[in-house]
Amino acid sequence: MYHRLDPRVKLLISVLMFATTLLVRSLYELAGVLAFMVVVAAVAMVLRRVARTMMFTATFSVFIFVLNFIFTRNLETSLLYAARFVAIVVSTSLFFITTSPDELEQVMKTFRLPRDVVFAFVTAVRFIPVMFLDTIQIMDAQKSRGLELEKGNVLKRVRNMIPVLIPLVVNSVVRSGELAEAMESRAYGAVPKPTSLVEYRARTADRVVAVSAVVLFALAAYSFYFVFPARIL
């Protein structure tokens, strides 16, 4: 259901959730925002992927917590910053998890961004899984030539990544050149304003969800500043 929403509405929800995480000033409020995000993820049926994102960001948030604690000596503030980082990542990843590169392209076009910028950005997003697959295949090829990626100290491990990184970069550069040629040979840039295959029109459901999201955001912002007195920032 969430996946079928107009991508502009999904972007609005993510932006509002992002803004809310910046407005919160206590751990309780942030816990509420995070809980709301989990509910959205459950409705969108991407709970497992969001959980993976949270686990991944947890490592960085520990780092943020430690740094903040060293400099502020305030446990609650440090915890808030660390948890806020997780919330920010979850709010943005909810949009990217539920939006296809094609939808992303349409969203960017509605903001009248230059076509080349939109194309470059969307292509970069679309090629992330391809590059990931490339990385695995390159690692396989180098491991089959006796390269031990998991052995040695940090410096040696970094040095061992050179045989992986060079083919990855070279392949990406070659692929981008080939893609540019293929696009040009299919009349990319031939007309200044090309027509679009899909044009989004907001449905009633989209409008209802968008208005509800704005109202919820307004309520949350109001309650953070005027209802709950407990503040740590």
């Binding site: 490339d134 090829a141 491991k143 089959s144 030539r145 006796g146 390269l147 045989p163 083919p167 392949n171």
Partner: protein
């Protein structure tokens, strides 16, 4: 087992002896590359075991196994990274701790074998697709592994290079190496006369000598594998009275004699 729950390989049971040449054929997605990745230890089976020269691949790292099993992957661009061809060739040799004199000797041997001497000091990245492919083969053969796996070795190769490659495979087999070739190129495989393993949807549909298996039109059709032209020619001749050849191998011998 694939991430989405599909069995990438299902009930595969194979025993490959030393000095044997085995061709693995089948349509795209049949599980050919997945199978050879199990032999190198890059993939570990969820059930069952893969044993290479008595070593269980579960208990051995790929880097350790690679001393025995050399794989030339389908896309040469996935492994070339060095500043020069000679450095590229010596990469694995240095990883395995070969002495400098031996490295030099093996590099020279590999470059000569694949006609790449003139590119010795060139960057491997500027070579043509076919040359890159030959370089990756040379890199593998340089450390003299007991098992050589070639994944689609004929892609981007002209007919002369294909013949050379077939000769190299025969040479490897006669020197006691086990060669496993994953290929769609039936015309390339047919003259080598390997043992053929036909795969479809992760299963082995057929396993036997090329001369017999390649005549099984039903099996080849179900695995979407083309029949070699010579076998098709032999079968069409067989439909006529007084067929001149006893079997496809006889027809092959006749073709080779005529060439001479």
């Amino acid at each position: 087992m694939h991430q989405n729950g599909v069995k990438a390989l299902d009930g595969v049971s194979l025993k490959i002896g030393s000095a044997e040449t085995v061709a693995i054929v089948g349509e795209n997605g049949a599980g050919k590359t997945t199978l050879v990745k199990h032999v190198t230890g890059l993939l570990k089976p969820t059930t069952g075991d893969v044993t290479v020269d008595g070593q269980n691949t579960r208990k051995t790292s790929t880097a350790q196994l690679s001393r025995k099993v050399g794989v030339a992957f389908q896309n040469p661009d996935h492994q070339l990274f060095s500043e020069s061809v000679e450095e590229e060739m010596s990469f694995a040799l240095r990883n395995f701790g070969f002495a400098p004199e031996l490295v030099e000797q093996r590099v020279r041997w590999g470059l000569e074998l694949f006609g790449l001497e003139e590119y010795r000091k060139s960057s491997p990245l500027v070579l043509s697709g076919g040359e890159k492919k030959r370089l990756t083969l040379a890199c593998i053969l340089a450390w003299d592994p007991e098992v050589v796996i070639l994944d689609e070795p004929t892609v981007g190769q002209d007919s002369i290079q294909k013949e050379r490659l077939a000769g190299t495979i025969r040479m490897l087999t006669s020197s006691g190496k086990t060669v496993v070739v994953v290929s769609h190129d039936i015309e390339f495989l047919w003259p080598i006369q390997p043992r053929v393993v036909v795969m479809k949807a992760g299963r082995v549909l057929g396993d036997g000598p090329a001369a017999i298996l390649m005549q099984d039109k039903g099996l080849l059709d179900s695995a979407r594998v083309a029949q070699p032209q010579l076998v098709e020619f032999f079968e069409r001749l067989g439909e006529r009275p007084h067929a001149p050849f006893a079997d496809p191998l006889d027809a092959r011998r006749w073709v080779e004699e005529t060439r001479r």
